[in-house]
Amino acid sequence: MTRMDRTGLTRRALLGRAIASGALAVIGTGFIAAKDAAWALEVTHITADEMAALLQMARDIYPHDHVADQYYAVAVKGYDAEDKKQMVAEGVAALNAAAVAAGHASYAAIGWEEDRVKVLQSLQDTPFFQTVRGGLVTGLYNQKEVWPLFGYEGESFSKGGYIERGFNDINWL
């Protein structure tokens, strides 16, 4: 099972904060954490390196600089599953192979987004890429916790709609 710990207060998450050096830290076996320990993700079916690659891939496909990693982690955590692990292993291997072919150590090790995007573009017609991209459309943008980051207010019925709450409050026209 995948476990998400947003408080980041587990022993391993704290450990992750101590030793992390990049945006994401792969820490030992089956564990990945954010640098600031805002969240931590344990993997059991796929490897931590594979999860780190998926997270980077999610960020590169739908990059929003004001959206923290934890939301991308939620969007891809479902790939840590028995019936997904082969697809992930093959997909990430292909990603890394393309990165190596372009002169990099691995996909996740590429420093500039622009260079990672070139690797992704070379694979964008593959089922792996399309599965991950398609899954993110709902996996990322349908998280209610993400909506306020875009200003989207979600349902309004429970508040009586906007009839008295600014449906026509535009003031700059």
Binding site: D60, I61, Y62, P63, H64, H66, V117, Q124, R133, V137, T138, L140, Y141, N142, V146, W147, F150, G151, Y152, E153, G154, E155, S156, F157, G160, G161, Y162, I163, R165, G166, F167, N168, D169, I170, W172, L173
Partner: protein, 522 residues
Amino acid sequence: MVAKFELSDDSVVVVIGTGAGGGVLSNELAQKGVKVVALEAGGRYLPEDYINDEWESFGQLAWTDPRTTSGDWRVAKDFSGLPAWIVKAVGGTTTHWAGASIRFQDHEWKALTNYGKVEGANLLDWPIDGAEMAPWYEKAETKLGVTRTGDRAGLPGNNNYKVFEKGALALGYKEVHTGRMAINSADYDGRMACQQTGFCFQGCKWGAKWSAAYTDIPAGEATGNLEVRDHAHVARIVHDDAGKVAGVEYFDKDGNLQLQKARVVCVAGNSFESPRLLLNSASTMFPDGLANSSGMVGKNYMRHTTGSVYAVFDKPVRMWRGTTMAGIIQDEARLDPSRGFVGGYELETLSLGLPFMAAFLNPGGWGRSFTTALDSYENMAGMWIVGEDMPQETNRVTLSETKDKWGLPVANVNFTDHANDVAMRNHAYARGQAIYEAVGATRTFPTPPYPSTHNLGTNRMSENAADGVCNKHGQTHDIANLFISDGSQFTTGAAENPTLTIVALAIRQADHIANELSAGNL
């Protein structure tokens, strides 16, 4: 008192589908004392059941049974199993529709005459016209409580409308207003006024938008003449040795095949399911499907020339607040071939929530070009293009190799734009972008069509039996007691959102069927 009729009762009119066509027809017949069994594939949902959440609501209401697609339209690539975004529920797509309720323009009833022959298109004049339809439109507007008709006031403009209106006026457009909407601007017909909640597409939780689900259906049931059977998936229409339809086979909610006998059958399953049903009802006597001696069943599928234009500004708009589609520019709906195409188009305000914007702004798109658009979601305004598309015989519904869970071949929907459709869409994109640029848009997005909501024409009405499937009353040319009662009877699509016309035709058809039953002609 809700009626309950025997399966063996062959005196009933069976209506298949309960949306704008079937739901209204069922009620109108019941009001006249005609006994009706309405078969609805979906379940019952009322305002308290509707969900203000785009994907969750989609899961609740949308028709997601399998369909297949082919042709050059982008929907076939991006949403290959979902050619339409329509509803499977009692009340049909009247739960989801935006409420825009505008009449056809007079010239649109006679497209072939007024546009002339268009190469590659299969244009035809309707066997009815604006004068014939005027009183039925008035009844439909009264039923739906359409704003800006009768003495009903318009809706107030929301933020998205204000941006749209300012841009439209800057470009010199004159027919710009908050629309003729089947959404109450004041309490009407026992339903409350719009609370500017948004989520019009997810079912109106206030009941301020007209939907057959909570108006015509319960009104019909209250007469004691209407029985609505939900979760009834129709498989086949059966006929007798004389070639008249005699009943309808359907799978009930428990999956058992039932046969409801019938005096008259009215098909209103929308422009995919209605021709599919006629084709799936092929028999030794009718090897090409019912009512298909013309070969036109399934052909001439139209979906309106659509598309959207979104734009971002340097300040917030919050387009999702308030009525989703209460805003229209009608100037481009005129016939003016000097623009490079025949027919016209309406521009209507539209908004999507963040989840659907991510899915539909540029399906398949990714990377910063895409995400920086969503980063400005709060500063975004949007409009929808609704234009007349050309009927083409090759745009058609056929039976697919794929079968549904009952083992019935599903509908394959083949569609490719006509050159006229492309020219119109490009014109509309440019105008839409100019409208927003006139208000200071920093970036605009000509957005491709969504899965279709306006599905029309696959059992079209024609004067001559060789040109179409049904006559001016929706009665099939081949089988006197078989009627087409939904948007599939449209001869051409016109530029207007079709629901008002479907409702007007249903009221008119109910009058005709009741008269014919009384006269002993059916």
